[in-house]
Amino acid sequence: MSGMINLIKMELFRLVKSKGTYLTILFVVIFSFLLFMMSSSFGEQSKANMLEEDNALYAEITEEEEHIKSGGIGFVGVDFTRDTDIKFETIVHSFLSSGVFLIFCGIFAANTVCNKYKCGFQKNLSTYSNKKWQLTASENIAVLAFTVTEILLIVFILLIISVFYFENFRLGSAANIIKYMGMQAVLYYAFATLIMFIVEVVHSKVAGITVTCLLSMGFGSFFFNKLDEILKLNNFLVTQHTIVYNAKMLPIAFDGELWGTAATVAICSIILYNIFSAFFVSSRDMA
């Protein structure tokens, strides 16, 4: 057990000392800000259009939002202006469910796994040659730490911007926000374990990042929709039991069924992908 603790300490040290960590965080900050500005820009434009054509455009926006949420290209699904009467919890929900920030999670996970092989540092860890699964497990802790940091950072930046941007800032339910952040952190982490598994198998950062982008942007839904058409299972759609779908469709207010499904998908994914990763790592030589 002490070996595992040492490895976790090592991975957390690597997390703190790695340039990749700070670059990814920087991009998260920049993207959060940019997306907020884009949403407000779309909002301003929509408001100007709505002054001319009222209900029709509003209906279009609603349909657009549903399309985006179900797996279309992942921009945030809500636009606003300074005087929009919108709660902060809606902003949090829109941003975290957009799928965009999953990309950074996946990139960080791919980077973490691949860098170790690329530079050959695992050759220094031969003392763990009969416990290689611990190497995978310790990396997970670092990725989890990054995921939680990312979620906290996104919400913090949105909060700061929102307080200054909106004329009538309303928080909404802090409890909902916190619970939602926790659930999304689990889903984001589950996504990261999938990417880590892919990179462990193919030892390719490019593959990991490509899959990250494609899945985050919703391309996986085309495949799973086709699969559902073929399988035609009663009362069960594979599409609705994927990580990305649940991350995008999770409502901010607690819903037993939806949250239960999301939690089950996330936990099962985390367990399965970690087992698969540990299996692949254990069956291979370290160098």
Binding site: G3, M10, K17, N124, T127, S129, N130
Partner: protein
């Protein structure tokens, strides 16, 4: 009491259809500097990976520090290794790379790390990013990292690769010091055989994954012994003359060269004797077979 720190019994490693190491059995004594000699692709690195725990053998046994073969993993922490290129993070400093490994092994100590960096001459550059290091500096950092945890045995795979002459001298000094002052047993491979011959106390010659010969430095010196080399077109007459002079330990090479393995202190006498018999020779000299020549000869015979 078993004096062998490492014993391998019929160690084999197969990658697909390729047998990289083939039933290799050798013994490494405590305190030795054990040189592995072999061509590219002979199986040296694969063998070193197995004894360092980085690759699992396909079959065979590894016994470390006299322990049972089934418990080899319990002794892995006593083996430090530098296999191929050093495994270091380029965007971390030398100190942080060392610190990472030390944390992983649960032996982090700032002073000890500084001591190791000083040993390899990197103390002044410990805060420099490892990615900016020259090849020689990276090799030295790799050696320092292999020393973390105070191992009893070091496995160094071509540690002087890519070093300039000054760097080679420095590393040679470090290796000698590790053996002399720290009492560490070292297994080292190198293509630069003359360098190896300066520090190794024992040798194993590996070819096509198999152990060809295992010998001590004294035995090697004996085999790479002096000889008198005579070049002449009158080989037959010279052979008869040598027999008459009591120098019967000779061999004829390539039809015009004779190597006389004994009577090396009678070169002048042999020269006079041949002249008196009217035998024309093209050259006579005292030669010593180098490690290089010995290796080429022996692997050439093994390949046959």
């Amino acid at each position: 009491m078993n004096d062998y720190l490492l014993q391998t019994v019929c160690l084999t490693k197969i990658y697909g259809k390729q047998k990289a190491v083939d039933s290799l059995s050798l013994n490494v004594k405590k305190g030795a500097i054990y040189g592995l000699i072999g061509r590219n692709g002979a199986g040296k690195t694969t063998f070193m990976k197995m004894i360092s725990g980085l690759a699992a053998p396909t079959s065979g046994e590894i016994r470390l520090f006299g322990d049972d073969a089934t418990r080899v993993y319990t002794q892995q922490h006593r083996v430090g290794a530098l296999i191929e290129a050093p495994g270091i993070y380029g965007d971390m400093t030398a100190f942080d790379n060392m610190r990472m490994k030390a944390i992983a092994m649960g032996v982090y100590n700032r002073d000890k790390i500084n001591e190791l960096l000083d040993l390899v001459g990197l103390l002044e550059t410990r805060s420099k990013r490892a990615g900016k290091f020259s090849l020689g500096m990276k090799q030295r950092l790799g050696i320092a990292m292999s020393m973390i945890g105070t191992p009893d045995m070091l496995v160094l795979d071509e540690p002087i690769n890519g070093l300039d002459p000054q760097g080679i001298i420095e590393i040679r000094g470090v290796i000698a010091k590790l053996s002399r002052e720290y009492g560490i047993t070292i297994i080292i491979s190198s293509h630069i055989l003359d360098e190896l011959s300066r520090i190794a106390t024992h040798y194993a010659i590996i070819n096509e994954g198999r152990l060809i010969q295992e010998l001590s430095k004294e035995e090697l010196l004996d085999k790479c012994s002096e000889c008198i080399e005579i070049k002449s077109d009158s080989v037959k007459e010279i052979c008869i003359a040598l027999e008459e002079m009591g120098c019967g330990d000779y061999e004829v090479c390539d039809g015009v060269t004779i190597r006389v393995n004994n009577c090396c202190d009678r070169l002048g006498e042999i020269n006079m004797g041949l002249a008196r018999r009217g035998i024309v020779i093209n050259g006579i000299s005292l030669k010593q077979e180098s490690l290089q020549d010995f290796f080429v000869n022996i692997t050439g015979r093994a390949a046959e």
